[in-house]
């Protein structure tokens, strides 16, 4: 394990101080809660005290110094102050006539405290590194072709349309399209998916993937700052800015807890002895006993365990999720995901692959090829999946010179002037609105109707493939206790219902325009229970407003889609609907770790506080208090680190 320089220094100080302390104890001996020890060397009290002060200052000088500085800066209740007061208190107990000096105890408290701090600092560093390892997706250099030669440059020096060469074993530095070569890409760092992705000429490649076997020549499509890698890194880095309610709660708790305990400690040290002194005479006042109790209070008043373990758990949860290709934009969303009550899916591109294929052509009078020609030409400017499938089926280059004015009518279709005729391509609503004599078709899939100059010319059936894990994903959600799964689609209700039934979703709402989806989502949000959350899952391409409206918006297949990354609260790097259940599972696990830590840390503190108050137990040695404090912190931190390691299931 690699330690930072400052950590090493502390470690050395701990070892040296511990050794010196042991030496002092053996040679000089003295009184402690562990019993009497008569050392080999008999020293006068003041000399013994000086000997013990050596390890005390070695281990505690920085804390004492910070405590003094803190007082001048008005940081009265920080942990340095608490530890300084507590240890000085223990040391000064020896000044009371009825008490033996407890030097060993004082040095031990400081020693254990520093050990705990060191451990905590190592643990925090480790968690931070785990996120940094995600940063390893960041490419260092790019090989760009300039004037026929390949030059190695920084990725941010490469411009759009430059040609880069990616050799086997290298990371793809920028997003682009393959123009030569074929290879397999390892996307595990991005998506958590270990199956490599095969690419060849014409395929898009995404920065951050590792090229496994072939040399690729890639035409760059996005500058480095806009490429997938940069977006992901930015997203992960900013995730800490949005804090969860638990974090805010703990901060508030710490703000009140420490001063209250410190004031009670002061009261505890002064009031009971004064009262007893007034009753029984000053001589009998048990000052040292109550000061010891007050010191226990001080030691236990540090809320470190809580304050550190809660953000650490969230950070771990977000980090663990990112290893599965699930990017969560803030702890608040992680917290909200755990309460998912309704999960709403968009159909196309989310539950289905969105790779539409033309499965049937039903013309009225003209022949099949002519109908397809009209549809493909009209849709030539559109990038909608359906348009793409039409163009794919057409298989010829569309002659754009034939196309005049083109208008896209949202939720209806496309109106285009082709060879001087007005061609309308779209759904039946569109046909109805232009008054064409359309008719239904009983084939399953999306029906694309075509009309020329208001005359119905026939329809083309385009159908979509359901994603292989969609059904499993929905079933998992149900198993997790999600009350309702809903599918929204712009498709005709027969198609929507057929798909909904196959997938096992609870509700299907069909024939929705983009605005309709927002409205439907608002209805669903109105129906939920006060604490439940409505999650919307979409592909982020044409449903950004809906994504933004959900309590939590999840965009999937985000590799390469900036719009999705921006609009969503949670981003799934690959396009598997089953990852929604994984995300919810991770969030629940993280939250349960947070809850365990809160209950455990507060619980132990309360128990120790009560124990140190009870008169019949006698005074608790301060070492028990410091063990409770440091021990709880270590356990809570270890527990928090669990959040980082998400078990595969």
């Amino acid at each position: 394990m690699k330690l930072k320089k400052s950590q090493k220094r502390v470690l050395v100080r701990i070892i040296v101080a511990a050794a010196l302390l042991l030496l002092c104890h053996i040679l000089i001996g003295g009184h402690s809660h562990f019993g009497e020890n008569h050392g080999h060397v008999h020293l006068p009290d003041w000399a013994a005290a000086l000997c013990y002060l050596v390890p005390y200052f070695i281990i505690g000088y920085d804390i004492l110094w910070k405590a003094v500085r803190g007082i001048f800066h008005g940081q009265l209740f920080d942990e340095n102050f608490l530890m300084a007061v507590a240890t000085v208190g223990v040391l000064s107990i020896g000044l009371f006539p009825d008490q033996e000096p407890e030097y060993l105890e004082a040095v031990m408290v400081m020693l254990l405290y520093q050990t705990g701090e060191l451990f905590q600092s190592i643990a925090v560093g480790k968690s931070r590194n785990a996120i940094a390892s995600l940063m390893e997706i960041c490419p260092d250099t790019a090989n760009v072709e300039r004037d026929g030669k390949v030059e190695e440059v920084f990725p941010d020096e490469v411009a759009v349309d430059d040609i880069i060469v990616v050799k086997p074993g290298e990371k793809v530095p920028l997003d682009g399209t393959v123009i030569e070569g074929a290879s397999s890409l390892n996307t595990v760092a991005l998506t958590g998916e270990s199956n490599p992705r095969d690419v060849s000429v014409g395929d898009g490649v995404i920065s951050g993937c590792i090229n496994m076997n072939g040399v690729l020549r890639v035409r760059v499509e996005k500058e480095f700052g806009e490429s997938t890698v940069s977006k992901i890194l930015e997203l992960v880095e900013t995730s800490g800015d949005k804090k969860s309610k638990s974090e805010a709660y703990i901060t508030r708790f710490a703000r009140w807890y420490t001063p209250i305990v410190v004031c009670s400690a002061a009261a505890l040290a002064i009031l009971p002895p004064v009262i007893m002194g007034l009753i029984g005479g000053f001589e009998s006042a048990p000052w040292s006993e109550w000061i010891l109790r007050a010191i226990n209070f001080l030691i236990i008043s540090c809320p470190c365990a809580l304050v550190i373990s809660v953000p650490m758990s969230f950070f771990g949860g977000i980090g663990g999720a990112s290893r599965h290709g699930i990017l969560i934009k803030g702890s608040n969303y992680l917290e909200a995901l755990a309460k998912a009550e309704t999960v709403v899916f968009d159909k196309t591109g989310t539950l289905t692959k969105g790779n539409f294929k033309v499965t049937a052509i039903h013309p009225e009078k003209i022949d099949e090829q002519a109908l397809l020609d009209l549809a493909a030409t009209a849709e030539s400017y559109s990038d909608h999946p359906i348009s793409r499938s039409l163009k794919q089926a057409y298989a010829k280059e569309v002659d754009n010179s034939r196309v005049g004015e083109v208008r896209e009518i949202a939720g209806h279709g496309i109106k285009a002037m082709i060879d001087g005729k007005q061609v309308c391509v779209g759904n039946r609503k569109f046909m109805r609105s232009i008054g064409a004599q359309w008719h239904e078709c009983d084939a399953v899939g999306t029906v694309v109707h075509v009309a020329v100059d208001g005359e119905y010319e026939g329809h083309i059936i385009v159908s979509d493939e359901i994603k292989p894990d969609a059904e499993k994903g929905i079933a998992q959600l149900r198993k997790l206790g999600v009350k309702k799964t809903v599918m929204l689609t712009g498709d005709a209700s027969a198609t929507g219902r057929a798909i909904g039934e196959r997938l096992g979703v609870d509700e299907v709402h069909s024939e929705l325009l983009p605005e309709g989806k927002v409205k439907k989502l608002e209805e669903l949000i109105a129906q939920k229970s006060p604490k439940g959350q409505v999650v919307y899952v979409g592909d982020g391409i044409n449903d950004a407003p809906v994504l933004a409206r959900g309590d939590i918006g999840i965009a999937m297949g985000a590799l390469g889609s900036d719009a999705a990354i921006e609009a969503a609260d949670v981003v799934l790097m690959d396009d598997k609907p089953s990852k929604v259940a994984t995300a919810i599972r991770i969030s629940r696990r993280t939250l349960s770790i947070v809850r365990q830590n809160i209950v455990f840390a507060i619980g132990v503190k309360v128990i120790v506080l009560v124990l140190s108050l009870l008169p019949f137990i006698g005074t608790l040695p301060p070492i028990v208090a410091i063990f409770a404090d440091v021990g709880v912190m270590i356990l809570a931190v270890l527990n928090a680190m669990r959040a980082l390691y998400v078990p595969k299931k």
């Binding site: 940081q75 931070r128 800490g240 901060t251 710490a254 809320p303 953000p311």
Partner: protein, 73 residues
């Protein structure tokens, strides 16, 4: 305008919360967030006021934890 600063040696979560509170109180700052785990400070304020605000931010940070550094680019 929003600016993000990296921080170094931010070792206690409690301090991060205190810094956040302190920075929020600086005049001209409309929003501030210190992320303990990511060691990042996000500050929102008017662009032309940043010059006055940055030294105050450094002062607040130093006051809470003298070891912690804010990296000003």
């Amino acid at each position: 305008m929003k600016k993000v600063f990296k921080m170094e040696d931010l070792d206690c979560a409690h301090c991060a919360a205190k810094m956040e509170e302190g920075i929020k109180k600086i005049e001209g700052v409309t929003y501030a967030s210190v992320s303990f785990m990511a060691q990042r400070l996000t500050v929102e304020a008017d662009e032309d006021k940043f010059e006055e605000i940055i030294p105050q931010i450094i002062k607040v940070v130093k006051k809470v934890d003298s070891d912690c550094k804010v990296i000003i680019k």
